[in-house]
């Protein structure tokens, strides 16, 4: 179960992405994109994140996960197509020389935090 390790990586990424005046305790929402090719179970990742967020100083942070479908490009005929796992075969030329264009990797895309000086705005005004 490497989701716990990835959850720790997400916390590190959030911490190093926060402006200097925004404490981790102000973070209310963390959004990540997870490629469907990645061997990551979203529920397990969320469970892992929730398990460590208190000790990592962002107890109110909610992790939102957007799964990204896999797309590939045929290296022989350049056709681009959506990929239903686990068949990486070009539907046009029927060859298996396929590079993955999207659907692999875990990306931090957005952090929402309470304003350090004003009213809490949580995740109500930005979605």
């Amino acid at each position: 179960m490497h989701e716990l390790y990835i959850a720790e990586c997400i916390v590190k990424s959030v911490n190093s992405s926060l402006p200097r005046n925004v404490a981790p305790t102000l973070v209310t929402q963390v959004r990540v994109q997870v490629g469907q090719l990645d061997a990551v179970v979203p529920d397990t990742l969320k469970f892992s994140f929730d398990a460590i967020k208190q000790s990592c100083g962002m107890p109110r942070a909610e992790l939102l996960i957007q799964e990204i479908a896999v797309r590939g490009r045929c290296l022989d005929c350049a056709h681009e197509f959506g990929i239903d796992l686990p068949v990486f075969i070009c539907p046009v030329c029927n060859r298996g020389h396929v590079e993955v264009l999207q659907g692999r990797g875990i990306t931090l895309t957005r952090i929402i935090a309470d304003d350090p000086e004003g009213e809490p705005n949580g995740n109500t005004s930005h979605s």
Partner: protein, 217 residues
């Protein structure tokens, strides 16, 4: 407030892996990350491979990954090569080797004296595929006893590797295994992966694997 970010959450891990790679390149070390399910024959493969490479005058070393125990290191010890045991237990029992663990192991290796470094990852067909350690090549084993369906169930591992060694070929006569289906499933997951049927026990196919390894170096 909203803080837009576009950031690979593994960037710190990948940065360490790049440092590892720079150290390998600086000393001309070719590094192979060996991955598979537990019990597919990684350590046995290394035992046989390293003996043949030594006979060809190629110096090897191994970073031996396990959650716990030094059993595999003890099996490799008679080879007389540097073997560094990397246990993840002190790191929380991770199911894969991380680039930070490889970096820690490098402190105990004399890189200028090594031509090929094998990283025997932790036995697991899922998690190790996710992480770049700084290696030159990723190689996996799929033993015949695991069944034809594994490429279908665990495509990332097959996507990430340049070579799939079909191990324990000596057991083929005793198993109800459809080898053509197994190979077809591998090709569906990754049409560019090289497949070498081998038996570390009988020596079948080892020369093709070794020739590939030496040529890639």
């Amino acid at each position: 407030m909203e803080i837009p970010v576009i950031r690979d959450v593994l960037e710190e891990s990948n940065a360490l892996a790049k440092e590892n790679r720079a150290a390998f390149d600086r000393h001309g070390v070719f590094v192979v990350n060996i991955m598979s399910s537990p019990g597919s024959g990684k350590t046995t493969l290394l035992q046989k491979t390293i003996v043949i490479l030594a006979a060809r005058g190629i110096s090897c070393a191994v970073i031996e990954g396990d959650v716990t125990s030094t059993l595999d290191s003890e099996r490799l010890a008679p080879l007389g090569i540097p073997v560094i045991q990397a246990n993840t237990e002190p790191f929380g029992g991770d199911c894969h080797l991380g680039s930070h663990m490889v970096q820690a192991a490098l402190k105990y290796l004399d890189l200028p004296s090594i031509e090929i470094l094998f990283i025997e990852n932790i036995g697991n067909l899922v998690c190790p595929a996710e992480f770049y350690l700084g290696e030159n090549r990723k190689v996996m084993l799929l033993s015949l006893t695991e069944g034809e369906d594994k490429p279908t169930k665990y495509p990332l591992m097959f996507r990430e590797c340049q070579v799939c060694l079909l191990s324990k070929m000596d057991l083929a006569p005793h198993l109800d295994i459809d080898l053509d289906l197994m190979k077809s499933n591998i090709q569906k997951a990754n049409g560019m992966i090289r497949v070498f049927p081998i038996s570390a026990k009988t020596g079948e196919g080892l020369m093709a694997w070794l020739d590939w390894l030496v040529n890639e170096r």
